[in-house]
């Protein structure tokens, strides 16, 4: 049961709500739905985010990640479900009473205020004394390495500097939760990596519960404690960056994180611990798979998870059709016998062989790194 009280009043948690989930996890989202007309932008999402955790919502544009973030912030209403922070149900609490810090994609710095006043803005609203404001603003500006800019006008700052101010402004109010909506997407590549470290270190030091939205999988892997991969308003997989990268739960995740190649194949269960994988006519690989599944399957692997070898019978053979030299590594495009093109990365420090277009090669898999999905549900086979 959920008690909807008058907006504006703090809603106290009613006893019927699942007690067990309160423990430990301050941010609790249950079956949350957001509708735009007939379209469910967020389609029944449930999440729990721990104290001080850096949690990322990752997905392609239109997957509902920003909508969900804005529901937590209070800018989008919740059509069904519950969002709770500790004992407080947030659903009907207006955005300005939630004590949530937010960092926006395009910084949203107040252009008519100096850097100092931008950061002091939220503290003034909280009736903090003048001396305390001064002290806390300067502290937080030093934290984001912007102390010397406190009297500047925002128009005189670069994008990266503006985003530091935006971060300072959001954390100075000691928010219960920090929300970040693609904060790095307007910065250039190098700055993005610098800022990502700044954000991660500050978040770590202050131990703020953080929800971060991005469409950039590399950024998500680098910065997060845990990631929820989203698509079509639903969560596809939740896990640590490593889990998500190495053990994608379905083909969508495997494809979205670190671009995989997919090959249709047939799996034949032989013994309890052994299966036979038929990829193309003639290529059969024995794999140690602890499942009794037999039937259509999808083999997924990433460019760096295969090695090139000498072609031979029973192996997956192909011909190099294109190569790109990228300094420390080579990218080869290999056309298999069924005309499917596979991308393979070879690190030059591991292999000094200089391959030419037209060379015949075989693809040798690192069995512990490949993933198999069933052909119908696209779910992982374990």
């Amino acid at each position: 049961m959920v008690a909807y009280l008058d907006s504006g009043k703090v809603c106290h948690f009613s006893a019927e709500l699942g007690q067990e989930s309160i423990m430990g996890n301050p941010l609790y989202i249950e079956n949350v739905v957001k509708r735009f007309g007939d379209f469910n932008a967020v389609d029944g999402i449930s999440l729990e985010i721990g104290e001080g955790e850096f949690f990322t919502l990752l997905g392609p544009s239109g997957c509902g990640k920003t909508t969900l973030l804005r529901m937590i912030a209070g800018f989008n209403s919740v059509d069904a479900g519950v969002i709770r922070f500790k004992e407080k149900i947030l659903n009907d609490i207006p955005a300005h009473r939630r004590n949530i810090g937010m960092v926006f994609q395009n910084y949203a710095i107040f252009p008519h205020m100096s850097v100092f006043n931008n950061v002091a803005y939220g503290l003034k609203a909280r009736k903090v004394s003048k001396e305390d404001i001064e002290k806390r603003v300067i502290e937080v500006l030093d934290l984001v390495q912007m102390g010397e800019y406190k009297d500047r006008q925002p128009s005189k700052l670069s994008g990266g500097q503006q985003q530091r101010i935006a971060l300072a402004r959001a954390i100075v109010i000691n928010p219960d939760i920090l929300l970040m909506d693609e904060p790095l997407s307007n910065l250039d590549a190098k700055l993005r990596i610098d800022m990502r470290e700044v954000i991660k270190k500050i978040q770590n030091n202050l131990n703020i519960t953080t929800v971060y939205v991005t469409h950039d999988q590399e950024e998500a892997l680098a910065i997060s404690d845990r990631i929820a991969v989203m698509n079509g308003g639903k969560i596809q997989q939740i896990g640590t960056p490593r889990e998500i990268y190495q053990n994608p739960g379905n083909t969508f995740v495997a494809d979205f994180i670190g671009t995989s190649t997919f090959l249709d194949c047939i799996l034949e269960n032989k013994t309890k611990k052994k299966s036979l994988l038929k990829i193309l006519d003639g290529s059969e690989i024995e794999i140690p798979l602890q499942t009794d599944y037999s039937g259509g399957a999808v083999l997924a692997f990433r460019a760096e998870e295969v090695t090139l070898g000498k072609p031979g019978p029973g192996k997956l053979n192909g011909k190099i059709v294109f190569s790109t030299f990228l300094g420390g590594l080579m990218n080869y495009e290999i056309m298999l016998d069924n005309d499917q093109v596979v991308l393979v990365t070879e690190y030059l420090k591991d292999n000094e062989i200089w391959r030419n277009i037209g060379d015949e090669v075989s693809l040798d898999f690192n069995m512990s790194r490949i993933n198999l999905f069933d052909a119908v549900n696209k779910e992982v086979l374990v």
């Binding site: 049961m1 959920v2 909807y4 907006s7 912030a73 209070g74 800018f75 209403s77 059509d79 069904a80 009907d92 207006p94 955005a95 300005h96 009473r97 939630r98 004590n99 949530i100 810090g101 937010m102 926006f104 994609q105 395009n106 949203a108 710095i109 107040f110 252009p111 008519h112 803005y121 939220g122 609203a125 909280r126 935006a166 402004r169 959001a170 109010i173 929300l179």
Partner: protein, 557 residues
């Protein structure tokens, strides 16, 4: 448990600040716009002795040449003036924007100054120069040269063409300045250049802006009352006839005045509708990352082009110059005597200080109300989009198609009887200025609000400032530059307002423009000129102050 339905109901009827404001604005619009308009419409259908419902007034209008010909006159005058203003304004704007004509700033100032005073002052200045006892007429009469008459159709064309081309010019310059040069370069690289590029890329791209300017000119010429009253003479146009019918003592002509008012509004609406049809959704929002570079001209072409554009600008300034000069000449009624003096100014200071005070008091009160309304309504229309606020948008823009004289008439008819009696008061003038001039301010407020990122407001809200306080602390302040540039236009239009004031004023609420008019009819040209000079001067000062306030970043038009 699911109770979203309950939540929605609560949101819909919540007595929040914005819903209260929406309600207040609708009440004000209902009382001061819809009620008078409905009154006008119903009165236009009264017929016969028993004043029953009928079309007889409309039939009369379309059957009697006396009435019908004025509609025809109005249409011809409006169309020809607009075409001429475009023929002057468009090439001049293009030349100044694209070629290295020296002193562009100076040129723009000249053009802006020439459009600052109401059109009828232009008409008056031409009378002073070329009228029956005009200065130039008298000067060249002994030489046996007879200039074409300044009165009638030709004279009005002259006045309107040179009063209106600056609007086209400013719009064209604005549109060309915000165009990205890569578009023209792309055409060039595809082998399209010269005139062909001009007609396939450049002009189509500025067309939406250009038509907005053209419609503005059409509306202004169509509704202008002062100019045809002064120099129209035999060439009667609709606003003059409406004024005559209404001010005439016969009771029956109230109905005919209403009928003609409805016809002129329908005509304006048609023009606006046609523009929307032509433009459709073609709103090329160009950012102008790299405005086209200015082309250097060869010496001969440069001299010819420079002479031409300065010639036009100076010609357009003649009315202003004439007004200022005559205000310092000794006069005896309509006769100018040799020698300069401040006599005219001393006279108005003694006898007409009231009208000066009225003008600025009413316009100031009106502009304060307009700024408040403009900011709040723009916010409602842009940030709280709904069918209700779309209707508000439509209603606030609708005065654009109501000529001033018509607004004056419907106000008199609506508010000279209970429940609301306002006829003859200063209040009715202020309200008419607000209603009639708010579209400028409303549009520019909407324009700037679209440029403001909503995330800035959300940042403020998430930092703990309630949405209403955020509006006043952040949104309203950031809107100010756009609001002010609209407000300057609305303010200048308010101090110059003539067509509705001439109907709504009473003995103790005379304004400068009305006094100028009565002075011209009394043949006191000197005092009329001095008052005209004060208006122009006030408008220039407003623009200078505006430029100082926005540090040159803001732009008018």
């Amino acid at each position: 448990m699911k109770t979203p339905a309950g939540m929605n109901r609560k949101r819909l009827f919540a007595l929040d600040f914005w819903n209260i404001m929406t309600f207040i604005f609708f009440v004000l619009i209902a009382v001061f716009l819809v009620y008078p308009l409905v009154g006008l419409l119903s009165r236009s259908f009264l017929s016969g002795e028993d004043r029953s419902f009928g079309l007889s007034s409309y039939l009369e209008f379309f059957q009697l040449p006396y009435y019908f010909s004025t509609l025809w006159h109005s249409i011809i005058l409006t169309l020809v003036s607009t075409v001429l203003a475009t023929i002057v304004g468009l090439p001049m704007g293009y030349a100044v924007a694209r070629y290295d004509i020296p002193g562009k700033k100076m040129l723009n100032v000249m053009v802006v100054v020439s459009l600052l005073s109401p059109p009828f002052i232009g008409a008056y200045a031409w009378i002073v120069l070329l009228g029956r006892s005009g200065f130039l007429t008298k000067l060249i009469e002994p030489l046996g040269i007879h200039l074409p008459s300044i009165y009638g159709f030709g004279g009005m064309l002259l006045v309107f063409t040179f009063k209106m081309f600056p609007f086209i010019y400013m719009y064209v310059i604005g549109a060309l300045g915000s165009m990205d040069s890569s578009l023209e370069e792309a055409a060039e690289s595809l082998g399209v250049h010269g005139i062909k590029r001009l007609f396939t890329v450049t002009f189509p791209l500025i067309l939406p802006t250009l038509t907005a300017g053209v419609v503005m000119v059409l509306m202004t010429v169509l509704s202008d009352l002062g100019t045809p009253m002064l120099i129209g003479e035999g060439y009667k146009v609709l606003p003059v006839l409406i004024y005559d019918e209404f001010m005439g003592e016969m009771g029956g002509s109230f109905v005919m005045a209403s009928t003609m008012s409805v016809i002129i509004i329908v005509f304006s609406l048609t023009v606006l509708f046609l523009q929307r049809k032509v433009i459709g959704n073609k709103d090329y929002n160009m950012t102008g990352l790299r405005p086209p570079s200015v082309i250097e001209l060869k010496p001969v072409s440069k001299i010819i082009l420079t002479t031409a554009v300065y010639g036009i600008a100076i010609f357009a300034l003649i009315p202003q110059i004439t007004t200022v000069v005559t205000s310092f000449i000794k006069t005896h009624g309509p006769l100018f005597i040799k020698g300069f003096s401040f006599e005219s100014y001393r006279y108005i200071w003694d006898k007409m200080a009231d009208s000066i005070r009225h003008t600025f008091t009413y316009a100031t009160i009106a502009i304060v109300i307009m700024i408040f309304m403009g900011i709040l309504t723009a916010y409602l229309v842009v940030r709280r989009k709904s069918r209700v606020t779309a209707l508000l948008d439509f209603l606030l823009m609708s005065p654009y198609v109501i000529p001033g004289s018509v607004l004056g008439i419907i106000f008199i008819m609506a508010f000279n009887k209970p429940p609301v009696i306002l006829a003859g008061t200063a209040t009715i003038l202020v309200i008419s200025y607000v209603i009639r001039k708010i579209p400028f301010l409303f549009r520019s407020s909407i324009g700037i609000l679209y440029q403001l990122d909503p995330a800035v407001e959300e940042a403020s809200i998430s930092l703990g400032i309630s949405p209403v306080r955020t509006f006043f602390k952040v949104t309203a302040i950031l809107m100010l530059p756009g609001v002010v540039s609209g407000a300057v236009l609305s303010w200048i239009a308010s101090i110059n307002e003539f067509s509705s004031t001439i109907i709504l004023y009473s003995g103790h609420t005379k304004t400068i423009s009305v006094t100028i008019f009565t002075e011209i009819f009394k043949d006191s040209y000197g005092t009329a000129a001095a008052l005209g000079t004060i208006l122009t001067f006030a408008a220039i000062v407003s623009l200078v102050v505006f430029n100082k306030l926005t540090k040159g970043k803001g732009s008018v038009v």
